[in-house]
Amino acid sequence: MNEELDSQLSAMFDNELPAAECELLARRLSRDPDVQARWGRYAVIGAVIRAERGVTLNGTVAGRVSAALSGEPALSEVDAARPAGRTPQFRWWQPVAGAGLAAGVAAVSIFWLRSQALPDGAHAPALVAASTATPAPTVRAAQSALQNAAATAPDSFVVPPVQQRPMMVVPATELADYVVAHSAYSWPVSRGNLLSALMVSEPGTSSTPARSDQPASGVQGNAIQNPK
């Protein structure tokens, strides 16, 4: 061993070596008998300084422990074998926690659905208040457009129709494509019902942009050709 390594070993014995340096030295300590013998003598020096009377210093305990453990498996092997033999423990709090979590999710869902169900006008006061506080140019433009629309539209208490959501159109169209492409393999009755349902749920299909036009007309044509 060189002097630097010996110095590290001495510091490690005193628990004064940085953890990063300990890793490498611990590996060497566990494998090198000379390093281990030096380590053992450091312990003997400490025992003599502390005047540990009645303690034998020729390391009999270490030898006996090592011999006693020689027949035992290494701990990593014990850990590897343990899960197979372990019996599952019943924890009373698990079903309670599960029920609580489910109730929480349900409550959040209900609140979310209720907020979604409110008409768009319900949020208008808050929006107007916010926009008057900081009238940015884009907000002002939007406000004037709204005012123009309100001036041209007749006064009415009829609830305005809910706007179409683009995200609802695309899946329905793609589903229609899929049904048309596989129509040869489906029952005529179910195909007709499904296509009728699609056309009903997609009111703007015929007047939507070019991409959705072609499949939609194909759907209509196909529906007419197979009126079952």
């Binding site: 010996d6 110095s7 001495s10 510091a11 490690m12 014995f13 005193d14 628990n15 004064e16 070596l17 940085p18 953890a19 300990c22 890793e23 030295l25 611990a26 590996r27 300590l29 566990s30 494998r31 281990q36 013998a37 030096r38 380590w39 053992g40 003598r41 450091y42 312990a43 003997v44 020096i45 400490g46 025992a47 003599v48 300084i49 502390r50 540990e52 009645g54 303690v55 034998t56 210093l57 020729n58 390391g59 009999t60 305990v61 270490a62 006996r64 422990v65 090592s66 006693a68 453990l69 020689s70 035992e72 290494a74 701990l75 990593s76 092997e77 014990v78 850990d79 343990r82």
Partner: protein
């Protein structure tokens, strides 16, 4: 830096299946543990048996050791419990005297287990005495600053930082002084160990 970093690195190695790392931990703490157990039992041989049992229990329990406390603190608790249990079970069971021996009236001359440990052999005891006298002589021969540093560390249990404060020097100097003190003592001690072992073989 963790105060227990070196012990913890050895413990982690044991947990990964390296038994050699556990040997290092036993070498480091065997004397302390025997001394601790001797608060409960007077017989050194019995104390060694209990210390051995405590180490084996510790090895088997190491998978549950998470490092929340220092390794020695954890080992200390195991040893105390093992010693208490040993005292209770010894008090319950009748003492088996070896009646074949002539000098049963002397407390130190009989072996309760009917066998003699290595540490009790004349060679073992002589070796222990020789080790003590060699280490003490080597410490006396050390320069003052090295002797103070090693004694503050081993006898008073001060950290390097505390020793540096006490000796008004940098921590690096403390580390170097303790290392040089150990090296000087170890040179003399190595000769005794090698000579002692050789003598034991001759006698055996």
């Amino acid at each position: 830096m963790s105060a227990d970093a070196s012990d913890l690195s050895l413990v982690r190695r044991v947990q990964r299946g390296d038994k050699g790392a556990f040997d290092a931990l036993v070498l480091k703490y065997q004397h302390k543990l025997v001394k601790l157990v001797m608060r409960y039992v007077r017989n050194p041989a019995e104390a060694e048996d209990i210390a051995q049992e405590a180490f084996i229990k510790a090895y088997r329990a190491l998978p549950q050791f998470r490092g929340d406390s220092a390794f020695y603190t954890w080992l200390y608790r195991i040893a105390i419990n093992t010693a208490k249990n040993a005292v209770v079970s010894r008090d319950r069971s009748p003492i088996e005297y070896n009646i074949d021996r002539n000098s049963t009236d002397n407390d130190e001359s009989y072996d309760m287990q009917g066998r003699m440990r290595d540490s009790e052999t004349p060679e073992g005891l002589v070796l222990t005495d020789e080790i003590r006298s060699t280490v003490n002589a080597a410490i006396d021969a050390l320069p003052e600053d090295l002797r103070t540093a090693i004694v503050l560390r081993e006898l008073e249990g001060l950290s390097y930082e505390e020793i540096a404060e006490a000796m008004a020097c940098p921590v690096g100097t403390v580390r170097s002084r303790i290392f040089r003190a150990r090296e000087a003592i170890d040179r003399r001690l190595r000769e005794v160990f090698e000579g002692g072992l050789g003598r034991a073989e001759e006698l055996g």
